[in-house]
């Protein structure tokens, strides 16, 4: 087990280096940092531009890219991050806030989605082929087919805009931000009110995924021989379900949950932007549209690292929960 983890960790490092190098090249080609610098500051002298290139390691040619990458990497690892081109400030405080906001949204939505989705999946799998099974399964299929922006905009239309017209007063749920404009300090009630709609949008997708996955997983276990053995021993149906079936059915679901957590960090871009939620997704689109290279790179690293780390965790958890899995 320990050997497996160590080997995977050792593999993760070159993977991370290679991927970040490719991302570095892609972003430098795609959003030319020198051009962005020129757009941000009019009346630049040639000396200023050369200085900017030197500081950020923006050398030309393939060798220059490699050299620039290592210069960037050294700065990144030692905490000496280059400043944002457009805001001309440090990147980390902004990125940290965005990350925290996204984690709050993502973890709330995933927790709700996983609980409700699994409950629905079990509910459906207990009577396969019957009405409740068909209903849950079809609803999940529809939920999966609806892109998040459709549910987001429809929810805004109904609960914010038309709510006012139909019932008077303000809108039921606000459609943007985490607090009303001008608000300062922490307020749990306001915060929850602002998060209802975005959480719903994300949770719809999660519920759809997990209800189908849990249903399939539980049905798989229900047909297994060891359940028949347990029943024939005279174990009560309730105990068969809870002790034998559910525990085994949860193994693949847990793995999926770990993979999902890894993709939360960058996976809420559409929802965040439609609700003007100041998270990682909004951070990315702002940096992307202005071509802000120093802001984009750390974002990318966080995304890749979280996917790699949680993939590894998912493998470890899977092996830990299911003794049939051998790691060598």
């Amino acid at each position: 087990m320990i050997r497996f983890v160590l080997r995977r960790l050792l593999w993760a490092i070159p993977t991370l280096l290679l991927v970040t190098f490719l991302v570095y090249c892609a972003i430098r080609i795609g959003t030319d940092p020198v051009q962005s610098y020129k757009r941000a500051n009019s009346r630049l002298t040639a000396k200023k531009i050369a200085e900017f290139k030197e500081i950020n390691g923006l050398y030309e040619g393939f060798g220059g890219y490699v050299r620039g990458y290592f210069q960037w990497l050294k700065g990144f690892l030692t905490g000496d991050w280059s400043k944002s081109i457009f805001r001309n400030g440090d990147v980390w405080p902004v990125l940290k806030n965005a990350l925290a906001n996204t984690l709050v949204l993502g973890i709330t939505a995933s927790t709700l989605g996983i609980i409700i989705g699994n409950a629905l999946g079990v509910f459906a799998a207990l009577r396969p082929g019957r009405l409740r099974d068909t209903a849950v399964n079809s609803a999940a299929l529809v939920g999966l087919s609806i892109p998040p922006f459709v549910s987001a905009i429809i929810l805004q239309l109904v609960f914010a805009i038309y709510w006012q017209r139909w019932f008077g007063g303000g809108s039921l749920f606000p459609t943007s931000g985490v607090y009303p404009p001008g608000h300062s300090g922490f307020d749990l009630f306001l915060r929850i009110k602002h998060m209802v709609l975005p959480v719903t949008v994300v949770a719809i997708q999660t519920i759809a995924v997990y209800s189908r996955y849990m249903r399939a997983s539980l049905l798989d276990v229900m047909n297994s021989e060891y359940l028949r053995t347990a029943r024939s021993k005279g174990v009560s149906e309730r105990r068969v379900l809870v002790r034998h079936a559910l525990r085994n059915a949860l193994i693949p679901v847990t793995t999926l949950a770990f993979l999902e957590v890894g993709s939360i960090v960058g996976g809420l871009i559409i929802t965040e932007n439609l609700f003007e939620y100041p998270g990682m997704g909004r951070y990315f689109l702002n940096a992307y549209s202005s071509g802000d290279f120093p802001q984009l790179m750390p974002w990318m690293v966080i995304i890749v690292a979280s996917v790699i780390v949680f993939n590894l965790l998912a493998d470890i958890v899977y092996a830990f929960l299911d003794p049939r899995i051998r790691l060598d």
């Binding site: 972003i27 795609g30 529809v142 087919s145 609806i146 922006f149 805004q156 239309l157 960058g266 871009i269």
Partner: protein, 316 residues
């Protein structure tokens, strides 16, 4: 000469696998219904001279006669009008045409590349296989929107590709952009198919009589993978249509010129329209998008059930 089954007194009606698949597909009600809906839609979109009520940029009512902006649905404009008085119903017909073209064209390119790469990777294995799998892994590590936006910039910055893929955000450009992501799904499916068939007896038999790899792929493996490939094709059409809408929503949609529009662009305008409370500018484009994507998904689902009866749990 008497056939063997006649000799023992049983007659067995032989049904070809293709016929069996067709019969199974007919059982899938949602898929058959989707084929019908999609056919009607495609006809309506192709026959715009008959079906559309106004031109792309033609106002419903002359602005000098009466106000024509943001009219809710009414007899002159079934789906209402937009900010400069154009008929949403007609614009949807023109827009769906462009978006279906983007979806189909990019999916076909994806399938051609994906089948070639997947088949070679599956059959040859080795370094090529490793590289292909790692490349797709890397793309999968990022949210699709991030990959699309980053690759969009990269493609736009490579000047020598401009004659092939066109200007940034042109329809042709988007087709190639979506194809870059579409082929990976197809390649994985084909690779898995090839791997599962590689050691089967009929392939071994073919190899024993001297068939070359190319022959084996084209004559044996691809005909046996038609089902999964069609499913992958339907997935990449849906993926491209939704991607187009998503990009448009954030202002990176297709640049179709003044005389045209696309479903993505109409969907993309919905976020602003929703805040202003113009529900018809939201509901109708969304409905068109959902009808198209759901129909294609159902057809893909039906095709999978029809060609791989085992995959649906043996119930089909």
């Amino acid at each position: 000469m008497i056939a063997a089954d006649e000799l023992v007194g049983i007659t067995v009606a032989s049904v070809s696998p293709r016929k069996q698949a067709y019969l199974r597909f007919k059982e899938h009600k949602a898929a058959v219904g989707s084929v019908f809906v999609l056919t009607v839609l495609v006809l309506a979109v192709l026959l715009t001279p008959l079906t559309a009520r106004y031109g792309v940029n033609e106002p419903v009512i002359d602005i000098k006669v009466a106000k024509n902006q943001f009219l809710p649905p009414r007899s002159e404009a079934w789906f209402g009008t937009d900010d400069i008085g154009r008929d949403i119903y007609s614009r949807l017909l023109y827009g769906v045409r462009v978006s279906l073209l983007i979806g189909l064209a990019s999916a076909i390119i994806s399938v051609v590349i994906g089948v070639a790469v997947g088949a070679i990777a599956g059959l040859k294995g080795g370094l090529f296989d490793d590289i292909m799998m790692r490349v797709t892994d890397i793309f999968l590590a990022f949210p699709i929107l991030v990959s699309l936006l980053v690759m969009r910039n990269v493609l736009g910055a490579i000047s020598w590709m401009k004659p092939i893929i066109g200007e940034l955000s042109s329809v042709r450009f988007l087709i190639f952009l979506f194809a870059i992501f579409g082929w990976m799904g197809v390649a994985r499916v084909v690779r898995a198919q090839v791997l599962s068939m590689r050691e089967r007896e009929f392939i071994e038999a073919s190899r024993a009589i001297g068939a070359k790899n190319g022959h084996i792929i084209i004559r044996h493996m691809l005909p046996n993978s038609v089902g999964p490939i069609l499913v992958a094709l339907s997935l990449s059409v849906v993926g491209a249509i939704i991607s187009e809408s998503t990009l448009s929503l954030f202002g990176y949609g297709p640049n179709v010129g003044a005389g045209s529009t696309s479903l993505g662009l109409l969907v993309g305008g919905s976020a602003k329209a929703a805040r202003a409370g113009y529900w018809w500018l939201v509901v109708f484009p969304f409905a068109a998008l959902l009808i198209i994507t759901l129909c294609i998904s159902f057809i893909g689902d039906g095709l999978r059930d029809a060609t791989e009866p085992k995959a649906s749990g043996g119930r089909a």
